[in-house]
Amino acid sequence: MDIESLERVSKIIRTDIVKSLAKAGSGHLGGSLGMADIFTVLYFHALQHHPEDPEWEDRDRLILSIGHISPVLYATLAHAGYFPVEELLTLRKLGSRLQGHPGREHGLPGIELSAGSLGQGLSVAVGMALAGKMDEKKWNVFCINGDGELQEGSIWEAAMSASHHKLDNLISIVDRNGVQIDGKTEDVMGLEPLIEKWRSFGWHAISCDGHNMEDLIYAIEEARYVEGKPIVILATTKMGKGVSSIEDDHHWHGKAPTESEAIKFIKEIEEYYQD
């Protein structure tokens, strides 16, 4: 898919994130909007997958370790064809397949892991990558991690084990938006120098602009060619990207818009894509 088409998809995804959260009345808007470009590139360009056959054995696996940004995953999966788009409006409702944090037992196609307790997904991805290596499979495991999540010690246990076992079929994409619930990551618990941390743990680390489709495509291409090391893509993003009035505002980490705010935010998304 060309860049222009990817942009069009990401606009629809952003719009549906706002709509589904407004309808749900709770949920995490900021992080979901910030990851819309990355999810678009993954599901509409980079991943080997068949939405009509979600369990296809040779698919790339995508683990969403930060389950709280499920709205972006759901909106992307729906538009990729995993389930009807209308179902996005059931988010967080009783009986919905779209749980607040992804839950496989609710049967939504395309969900690889029930997750949401931070710091677990990378370990699960390590296990999958180990199995892939053992069975000489070609598929890769993509793990979406948050930057605040990197404060969990278990992430670094997983990081150590991935390089020890030379898991070059494991690609972590870190949402480096620099904010978490209490404020800036560097004020809450500093992560920098972050790229050096990953490199010292034996990872091939790439920085990129998480809102630049081309940049993201190149970063993922590079990641696929790395041999003998796991790969981390530190993607710089802005929480709330696309809705100018809430960009970078940590108050929108865990909040949903009201109906009237949603109308305003969707208008801002329109403007963002006109520029």
């Binding site: 839950g103 496989r104 307790s117 370990s123 699960v124 296990g127 199995a131 053992m134 278990s154 997983a158």
Partner: protein
């Protein structure tokens, strides 16, 4: 009164190691995860025969459990064992979400369970693992009574079962008395001794102590039923209900805190179905300490004589 004879003293961890190896020979999807103490938990047998199926992940138990989930999601049957204090308690949230919420077939081994770990002391004595593991939805909790049964239970958990399972076993050599040809079914208790005056429901190594207590009481003319509750979850409701109805008094015995363990599981069931007087033998809301296993068991009341005393006590309340 059934008589049981020991074939000798064998640590249940040895049964676990043999069981993993035997199961792995029959199913190549079975993998072992190492967290540095491979020999101590008996997994060295497997690692030596199948080095390509043994994955060392170091002293990082949370990551081990997460990786177990990833392997299970990729068609493997992973076995992860370390001291119960680490495998079950340090990692609880990982087991809760990555294993249980995803409902994956994986075997978590809780080694060195109970106070009989001995000289290592309180830090390494798992006494709360049953309570925590049995509270998790989808989790099965198995606690076999001797080395032979641990071997058979391990094979059952891996080759005749599907789902998250916590298997608890110990470090110290204990009487090995069950038959090689025993009928073992997860969730189905074994009645080791028939009787109608009272029932002792025990798990793990305490089953042997329960049999000894029943023998002693038999000399006083009391016919005591002894149940080996090798599966704590799902609890064999049928066996417990019959014990309550037919013997009218129950004593539970476990090498675990009385809070939340086997005794609690039995009490939760009978209070709703057929209440009878109960007594609980186990750790009474305290930490253990260093010492030789037998001495510790004696000091903390995890002995045949203390079980017998509790039977007499419960009989006074039987009406």
């Amino acid at each position: 009164m059934a008589q049981y004879v020991t074939k000798g003293f064998v640590a249940t961890r040895q049964g676990f190691g043999e069981g993993v190896l035997e199961a792995a020979r029959r199913n190549k999807r079975i993998l072992g995860i190492g967290a540095d103490i491979t020999g101590s938990v008996g997994m060295d047998l497997f690692a030596a025969e199948y080095p390509e199926r043994f994955i060392s992940l170091g002293i990082a138990e949370q990551n081990c459990v997460g990786a177990v989930a990833g392997l299970a999601l990729s068609g493997k049957i992973p076995v992860f064992a370390t001291y119960g204090v680490f495998s079950a308690l340090r990692t609880t949230d990982f087991i809760r979400i990555s294993i249980c919420y995803n409902n994956l077939h994986a075997l978590i081994g809780g080694a060195h369970a109970g106070i009989s770990v001995g000289p290592d002391g309180a830090t390494h004595q798992a006494l709360e693992d049953i309570a925590v593991m049995r509270a998790l939805p989808n989790m099965t909790v198995v606690s076999p009574c001797d080395a032979t049964q641990t071997r058979i239970a391990t094979i059952a958990c891996l080759n005749r079962f599907s789902g998250p399972v916590y298997l608890r076993f110990g470090r110290a050599p204990v009487p090995d008395f069950t038959s090689e040809n025993q009928h073992f079914e997860i969730g189905k208790a074994q009645i080791l001794s028939r009787g109608s005056d009272a029932t002792i429901i025990a798990t793990g190594h305490m089953v042997w102590e329960a049999l000894e207590a029943a023998n002693t009481l038999n000399q006083d003319g009391l016919k005591i039923r002894v149940i080996n509750m090798h599966t704590i979850k799902p609890l064999d409701h049928d066996a417990v209900l019959k014990a309550a109805m037919e013997t009218g008094a129950i004593v539970t015995a476990e090498e675990h805190q009385v809070t939340g363990g086997l005794g609690s599981a039995v009490a939760e069931f009978i209070t709703q179905n057929h209440p009878v007087p109960m007594e609980f033998v186990g750790m009474k809301d305290r930490f253990g300490e260093s010492g030789e296993p037998e001495k510790l068991m004696e000091k903390y009341g995890l002995s045949a004589s203390n079980i017998a005393m509790h039977v007499k006590k419960v009989l006074k309340r039987k009406y």
